[in-house]
């Protein structure tokens, strides 16, 4: 065990030490990028607020989270598919597991899978990435186990199609047209294919729930789907659906981040306005420049 730990430690430390040795003349700059100090401070504040709220929720602090219609409709969608005797389609986006939207989509898949297991309804998950397929299988297997129906899990319904964007769309839309699923979920990272999925689902009369953090795709989903999780709602989904106080606490922590963002917006607006009204005032101009380039910049 000690040998294994030593091997892992050396594996992790070796490249770091080599990098440090190569850049030894700039030793001070190696340990912290000071141009990103403000960014780090804002990150610590937001993450700190999330952790504090989580701890408070753990100790009994009650949290109110506004109802999210799209998430409340998951049960209805699964129930509808059960009544109609038709399958459910879940599309976890077209990107790999290194995208946080894909992970957020998979967290919702676990909840949808649990409901599908309870109602004994077929759930089809075609994926555009092999890693997503393996992760989705693991997640769904656990969900069926949690629902008390491990024998209901059929891993052949979670499969890889292709990495190609429009090849994936062609297969999935073709499957939709043939099998006519009663409920379609599109949760993950989407690009141009979003409207192709949503319009095909609309044409077969499926109840549709979509969610993505791609602002350019949101209008398409809003236009063609019954419910759309807009940006942060997708990331809040797993916490909302779990109902665990600790996870709900993280949503309250986000609210602090919004307050902070609102405060920074007000300061920025005031500085920009004053700076524009007093073109000769060098202090105001410098303050505004420092605010936008250093405090709100990424230090690059």
């Amino acid at each position: 065990m000690a040998t294994l730990a030593a091997v892992i430690a050396s594996l992790l430390l070796a490249p770091t030490l080599a990098y440090a040795a190569e850049n030894a003349p700039d030793a001070a700059a190696l340990w912290f990028d000071w141009s990103r100090a403000w960014f780090a401070a804002i990150l610590v504040l937001v993450c700190g607020a999330v952790i504090v709220c989580t701890e408070m929720a753990k100790h009994g602090w009650s949290t109110y989270v506004r109802p999210i219609a799209g998430l409340a409709a998951i049960d209805d969608a699964v129930g509808r598919a059960t009544e109609m005797g038709r399958p459910i389609l879940f599309v976890p986006g077209i990107m790999d597991l290194d995208q946080i939207e894909t992970v957020a989509g998979l967290t919702v898949l676990a909840h949808v899978g649990e409901k599908a297991a309870q109602y004994d309804t077929a759930l089809e998950v075609p994926t555009a990435r092999s890693l997503v397929m393996t992760a989705a299988r693991e997640g769904l297997q656990g969900a069926y186990l949690a629902a008390g129906r491990p024998e209901g899990f059929n891993e052949e319904r979670v499969y890889y199609v292709t990495d190609d964007q429009f090849g994936y769309v062609a297969y999935t839309c073709g499957w939709m047209a043939r099998e006519k699923p009663a409920a379609c979920f599109y949760l993950g990272k989407f690009f141009a294919e979003s409207l192709l999925f949503a319009e095909t689902g609309n044409s077969i009369g499926a109840i549709q729930l979509a969610g993505t953090a791609e602002p350019a795709q949101l209008p398409f989903f809003v236009a063609a789907c019954d419910y759309t999780l807009i940006g942060e709602e997708l990331f809040a989904a797993s916490a909302y659906l779990s109902g665990e106080p600790q996870q709900l606490g993280t949503l309250k922590g986000q609210d602090f981040g919004k307050l902070l963002a609102g405060g920074l917006l007000v300061i920025g607006c005031v500085l920009a306005t004053l700076s524009a009204m007093s073109p000769g005032n060098e202090t105001l101009r410098r303050s505004f420049s420092y605010f936008t380039h250093v405090i709100l910049g990424k230090g690059e």
């Binding site: 992790l12 490249p15 770091t16 990098y19 440090a20 850049n23 700059a29 340990w31 990028d33 990103r36 960014f39 937001v46 993450c47 999330v50 952790i51 989580t54 946080i100 992970v103 998979l106 967290t107 676990a110 990435r129 397929m133 393996t134 693991e138 997640g139 769904l140 297997q141 656990g142 969900a143 186990l145 949690a146 052949e156 499969y159 890889y160 964007q165 090849g167 073709g174 141009a192 949503a198 319009e199 609309n202 602002p215 949101l218 398409f220 809003v222 063609a224 940006g231 942060e232 997708l234 990331f235 809040a236 797993s238 916490a239 779990s242 996870q247 986000q254 981040g257 919004k258 963002a261």
Partner: protein, 236 residues
């Protein structure tokens, strides 16, 4: 042991990888660790691709063998998959590289004129273009539904869409060409660019982006701290 491998270890790996990625953004000395994590992900993705390819083959082969509904589509998929893999691996039609004219397989598999190149150029590309072209029709049908003036919000949406549509086409420029330059913001292109896109759209998009950034921070923390393990199927 099973619980350790299924639940604890993946959560620990996710947590450590998350901390490394965040740390490397602020601590330059940790950058090699970030690169290491990225290399590991690439290796994993490459391994998973083999799993994916095998899954694709077996999934469709089973459909064809059992003559399940839609087996014809699976037969086409299998033929295309196997055919492309074979011509790619055998470098069918690839001329030898100039540097090694006597070595048959020395040319690049993507060489112009090869069978793989031909398949991509004359089969794959047109098919992709066809799928992409469908968007034009779908945009029209989605817009028709979205812009039906059934309530106040829909009427506002319809009015805005009308202005943007005119502002982005020559018709809008032509219709408001008589407006003096001093009142350029009152033309269709002016209203589109200076008011709707620069003010309302930007403000709305930025609000969504701020929410997304905070949402990403919160879900990342939940995963790093191991609070949310539903993606591993071990939520309960």
């Amino acid at each position: 042991m099973r619980s350790l491998l299924r639940n604890t270890l993946p959560a620990v790996i996710a947590g450590v990888a998350g901390v490394v990625m965040i740390g490397a953004f602020f601590v330059p000395v940790a950058k090699p660790l970030q690169q290491l994590a990225e290399v590991w992900f690439t290796i994993l993705a490459a391994m998973a691709f083999l799993i994916g390819g095998t899954n694709l083959f077996l999934h469709h082969a089973k459909k064809v063998a059992q003559l399940q509904a839609g087996w014809g589509f699976s037969a086409v998929t299998l033929t295309a998959f196997v055919g492309t893999v074979v011509v790619g691996l055998l470098k069918w039609g690839v001329p030898p590289a100039e540097k090694y004219p006597n070595v048959a397989w020395s040319g690049s598999y993507q060489e112009e004129g090869s069978v793989l190149w031909w398949l991509y150029e004359y089969v794959m590309n047109p098919v992709i273009a066809t799928m992409f072209s469908l968007l034009a029709f779908y945009v029209a049908s989605a817009a028709y539904r979205a812009f039906r003036a059934k309530n106040t919000e829909a009427i506002l949406l319809l009015g805005t869409a009308f202005i943007v549509l005119l502002g982005r086409t020559y018709a809008g420029t032509l219709l408001t060409s008589w407006v003096p330059d001093a009142y350029g913001a009152l033309t269709f292109p002016g209203m589109t660019d200076s008011v709707i896109m620069a003010v309302f759209t930007t403000a709305g998009q930025r609000a969504i982006m701020i929410g997304i950034a905070l949402g990403i921070a919160a879900i990342s923390l939940r995963i790093i701290l191991g609070l949310d393990r539903s993606y591993l199927g071990v939520d309960e």
